[in-house]
């Protein structure tokens, strides 16, 4: 069947001019250009589509994909389909998501979906004879983005879940099942799944030092972006790579591929609406060095030292529609490591934005180009208007890096060990000596456990308090936690309140030991500790539910502060589930704070200046009922309670963005991840919690209940409210999970 291919005569001409050769080496010192020593390209062609708006979308299926070889890599080259027309009738309707070329250039691993009622699986194509075999994977889970690893292994991402019986996480928008890292032998044996992030991990690529670089979606409350991370081939030793703490060029950094040690080309884009495409950036992670024109950045790699160059300065890095002649880039493969490298790219012209394209009934048209970043010029190579021509790369051998892995400690019995050499060592926060009592470890989960879409109005994920590991005199701490689950940390003071919060999730494999230098210590400096055994090893690691099954990591009726796991705000309709917060208000507060306007119950009014909507007034109310009849219809319930709304409050950004006005006595009383700064906590003025309860108050001000002549909160009640704030001000926890109730 003929393929309509846009005329690329210009490209053909350019191959014979300007030093871009037609293949084979030049003679007599002739510059044959960046493709001069390339005999052919491998390219993936996928039928064009519009349903891959967000960067983690992986289930898109349109039958008719193929892997092609262009030889020589010019318009005059011969385009040959190498998969999967000869593989058999089972492959007639295949879609291919991505592929990788083996180190010896003799085989290709690709992610393919054979029909609409199947999932994406992994396949191995032998280039010699075109035969295809499937690598054994779960036929009801998707396996995508495969890459070859040394030692006849393949790494991939998958929505299969490492924990038997547990549901896979749903992403923070609750619209997609997350994908995580895994690996398998190419003969299908020994499939392993890695520890989970709470959201997606995607687009792995192998670096020359043997580590794998990939994009991780970091979502924890306000943090909501895609950053580069590194991991060993055995999915241990996760390390940040690029983009955290606001250092990224854009919201998301995607499809990073190594140019030279410490240097990567990647797509800089927004999370959604850009069809996985964006601007090209040249990231240098360490100190830049130039060795005879080869630019690299292998030394002192850290986010603090990282820089980036925009290779395509006109291309938007947000999700606004791109302009004609500007377009967006889907992927890039470096052909050299010049300061301004030459790249094989996939690029589409026009407004590469899913909403605009869809409304116009159009699709992006990605074609393959040679990009001269020094002159910001694209030279066309292949563009089939019916297809996305993507992931072009030379059909060449490459050196396999060493197999890189880490030790696993069988004595951990399936747990993960975490800790720090000296928690006071930090680049993000200055701690006062001695102010840290311990490190709180919290497990994260999302709505896949049966929750409604939102845990609360603060948009935090579900939290479970695994416990507090005490910091020893030398600043060290350690804890044994459940393996494979996402956790984040807070340093806490003697009142149990967070001093500093880690804004991202991390996880470890069974038997993995992850000791940090400090609390986000410098990535290039050495953490110095007093010679000798660390105090935390002498005392032993804190046991933080490391061997407790997921179904038991909850406590509906804690009998002590240390037993609190999840902080459920209120009971479910019909009285089901446990409530930890509302009983405190019921016992101590609602006698005065009952929604009746007055000095004890300030009111505020939200007004629309346009008059489109009538003003609405809210009055401070700590009772546990649903919002009143004039504000909601309680058919079955499901809305958050009056006390929750009073504490969490409306969101000022929403108010401002919608041009609303608030008048009256407006306050937000509970701040997520910030018990210490929360008005309600300050008002109640908690007493010392650690290492043992005492009468010492956190603040110099009077304690509200004592001031009112009331009985003060107990230590457990104080800690419940502190945890409610520090764990995100959620209404739901496992203790009041509607999915656990029997209807």
């Amino acid at each position: 069947m003929k393929h309509l291919i846009k005329s690329i005569a210009i490209g053909a001409a350019l191959f014979t001019l300007g030093g871009i050769g037609c293949g084979g080496g030049g003679s007599g010192g002739e510059d044959t250009g960046p493709l001069g020593n390339v005999e052919s390209l491998i390219i993936l062609q996928r039928p064009k589509r519009n349903d891959t708006g967000d960067i983690f979308q992986y289930t898109s299926y349109v039958a008719g994909a193929r892997i092609v070889q262009l030889s020589p890599p010019t318009a005059a080259g011969k385009l040959t389909t190498i998969c999967c027309d000869k593989a058999g009738p089972e492959y007639a309707k295949i879609d291919i998501q991505s592929y990788d070329l083996s180190f010896d250039a003799k085989s290709i691993v690709f992610a393919g979906k054979l029909s609409d009622n199947q999932t994406y699986g992994l396949f191995l194509l032998q280039l010699a004879d075109g035969s295809v075999t499937q690598i054994a994977t779960d036929p009801q889970r998707d396996y995508v983005s495969p890459i070859f690893l040394p030692g006849d292994r393949v790494m991939f991402t998958s929505n299969a879940v490492v924990e038997a019986g547990a549901p896979q996480h749903r992403d923070e928008y609750e619209r997609g099942t997350t994908i995580q890292l895994g690996r398998v032998n190419i003969d299908g044996t020994d499939l392993e799944l890695g520890p989970r992030n709470l959201s997606h991990r995607t687009a792995p690529n192998l670096a020359s030092d043997g580590r794998v670089v990939f994009t991780q979606w970091d979502h924890l409350g306000p943090e909501n972006s895609g950053h580069l991370m590194f991991v060993n081939q055995d999915m241990q030793e996760l390390r940040e790579g690029y983009g955290k703490e606001g250092t990224g060029a854009s919201n998301s950094t995607l499809k990073a591929r190594e140019i030279s040690p410490g240097r990567y080309v990647a797509i800089a884009t927004a999370r959604n609406r850009t069809l996985n495409a964006g601007a090209l950036i040249d990231i240098r992670l360490g100190t830049v060095q130039n060795d005879n024109g080869v630019v690299s950045a292998p030394l002192n790699q850290s986010e603090a030292n990282a820089t980036y160059h925009q290779l395509t300065p006109d291309v938007p890095m947000d999700n606004s529609p791109s302009a004609d002649t500007v377009g967006r880039y889907y992927d890039a493969f470096p052909l050299n490591a010049k300061d301004k490298p030459d790249l094989l790219v996939s690029w589409a012209d026009g407004p590469v934005e899913s909403g605009v394209l869809a409304a116009a009934g159009l699709s992006a048209n990605f074609g393959v180009y040679l990009y001269d970043s020094a002159h910001q010029q694209r030279h066309p190579i292949l563009d089939d208007p019916a297809m996305w021509d993507i992931f072009a790369r030379p059909l060449q051998t490459r050196t396999a890096p060493n197999i890189v892995g880490s030790a696993q400690d069988p004595k951990l019995a399936g747990q993960t060990l975490i800790g720090s050499l000296n928690v006071y060592t930090s680049t993000l926060h200055t701690f006062n000596p001695g102010e840290i009592f311990g490190v709180r470890v919290m497990e994260g989960f999302s709505s896949e456990e049966g929750f409604p879409e939102m845990f609360g109005t603060t948009e935090f994920e579900g939290h479970a308090n695994l416990g507090v590991a005490r910091v020893q005199a030398d600043g060290s701490w350690s804890a044994k936690i459940p393996a494979n689950v996402p956790v984040h940390l807070q340093t806490v003071d003697i009142f149990g309140m967070s001093l500093f919060n880690e804004p991202v999730w991390f996880s470890g494999r069974p038997g993995e030991a992850r000791l940090c230098g400090g609390c986000h210590e410098s990535r290039t400096a050495t953490t110095n500790v007093t010679p000798g055994i660390l105090d935390t090893f002498a005392t032993g690691a804190a046991q933080l539910l490391g061997n407790t099954p997921r179904a038991q990591r909850l406590q509906p009726a804690p009998t002590s502060s240390n037993a609190i796991v999840g902080v459920s705000w209120g009971v479910l309709p019909g009285g089901k589930g446990a409530a930890l917060v509302q009983p405190i208000f019921d016992a101590h507060c609602i006698g005065c704070h009952n929604g009746v306007p007055g000095p004890a119950n300030p009111s505020y009014t939200i007004t629309d200046p346009t008059g489109a909507m009538a003003p609405v007034t809210w009055t401070f109310d700590l009772t546990g009922g649903p919002l009143p009849a004039n504000m909601s219809v309680a058919a079955g319930g499901g809305a958050f309670s009056k006390s929750y709304f009073t504490m969490a409050g409306p969101n000022m950004e929403s108010i401002q963005r919608n041009g609303l006005m608030i008048s009256g006595d407006f306050k937000v009383y509970m701040n997520p991840e910030d018990a210490r700064g929360s008005l309600v906590i300050k008002k109640l003025n908690p007493k010392q919690m650690f290492p043992a309860p005492s009468a010492t108050r956190a603040f110099a001000t009077a304690a509200h209940l004592v001031e009112q002549g009331q009985a003060d909160l107990s230590a457990q009640e104080f800690y419940t409210l502190i945890l409610a704030a520090d764990m995100g001000v959620n209404f739901y926890s496992r203790e009041n999970n509607p999915g656990l109730s029997i209807y």
Partner: protein, 279 residues
């Protein structure tokens, strides 16, 4: 057509005022943009604009989104339900109306109701879903949506919906029910799925094999050993091979060795890997 009504103005005002901070995604958007997308008839445009309005405080959007919950396209209904799921009070108002449809509505109304209630994980609708699957007057679309709802809720209270659907005259409904069974939270056994290994439809058999393997259902071994060498469909044979590898019983060695020589590349590689998993 569903209509939340003008009284919603005050409700929406305050309810939506409690929406969380948007950082990068879900920003922008407007009622006009959503309406323009609807007018374009493009599914992808509608999805894109509704997603963009994730955090939008927009009373004008509500009726448009309400109408989308009754669109003929599942993808549109799904994203509209998602939008409401982010607004619990509005979701509850609509859920009440959709619950009535499950009991008395026609095929289309039941379809729309099931998709909304399932996608918003309205667990209180499980009794009505269980009742609806037994209705004899519903078309395939509605029955499929009921299964879809039970699957998305993933609550074992919906098991009856799935077991009933496993006997449905439509193969697509049976297959969907089989697939959903595996991912119900706390599901203990795949026993109800074993009989579907003998289904007349190849896709149903293939999915049943996947579930049996994924849930390590040893009682399925005999049928799987027959399928792996005798089923005319290569996808069924492949899934059966994988499942036998998961079961890990050494008694399956002979059939897997035979399957390792299968004419289909789908089967050969999977069968060889499965052999390595046998005890």
């Amino acid at each position: 057509m569903k209509n939340i009504g003008t009284k919603l103005a005050a409700v929406a005002f305050l309810a939506l005022a409690a929406m969380p901070a948007a950082t990068y995604a879900g920003r922008g958007g407007s009622a006009a943009a959503i309406e323009a997308a609807v007018a374009s008839t493009s599914t992808d445009a509608i999805i894109a604009e509704v997603e963009r309005a994730e955090y939008l405080l927009c009373a004008d959007c509500i009726q448009t989104l309400t109408s989308l919950t009754e669109d003929s396209r599942f993808a549109v209904r799904e994203v509209a339900a998602w939008w409401f799921a982010r607004r619990p009070m509005l979701k509850d108002m609509l859920a009440g109306q959709f619950l009535d449809d499950l009991q008395t509505g026609d095929t289309t109304k039941v379809r729309n109701a099931a998709d909304f209630l399932g996608r918003t994980r309205t667990l209180t609708a499980l009794p009505q879903l269980r009742a609806a699957i037994h209705r004899s007057d519903l078309g395939t679309e509605a029955r499929l949506a009921l299964v879809r709802a039970a699957g998305f809720m993933a609550h074992t209270g919906g098991n009856e919906v799935l077991t009933t659907a496993m006997a449905d005259p439509d193969a697509g409904v049976r297959a969907q029910a089989v697939v959903a069974w595996r991912d119900m939270l706390g599901q203990k056994t795949a026993q109800p799925v074993v009989a579907l290994l003998g289904d007349r439809d190849a896709n149903v058999r293939a999915q049943a094999a996947g579930v049996a393997g994924g849930m390590i259902e040893q009682s399925a071994r005999g049928m799987l050993e027959t399928l792996v060498i005798q089923d005319p469909d290569s996808v069924v044979r492949r899934n059966a091979a994988w499942a036998l590898g998961q079961l890990g019983n050494g008694a399956s060695r002979a059939v897997l060795q035979q399957a390792a020589g299968d004419q289909s590349g789908l089967v050969r590689g999977v069968a060889k890997a499965a052999l390595a998993g046998l005890h």
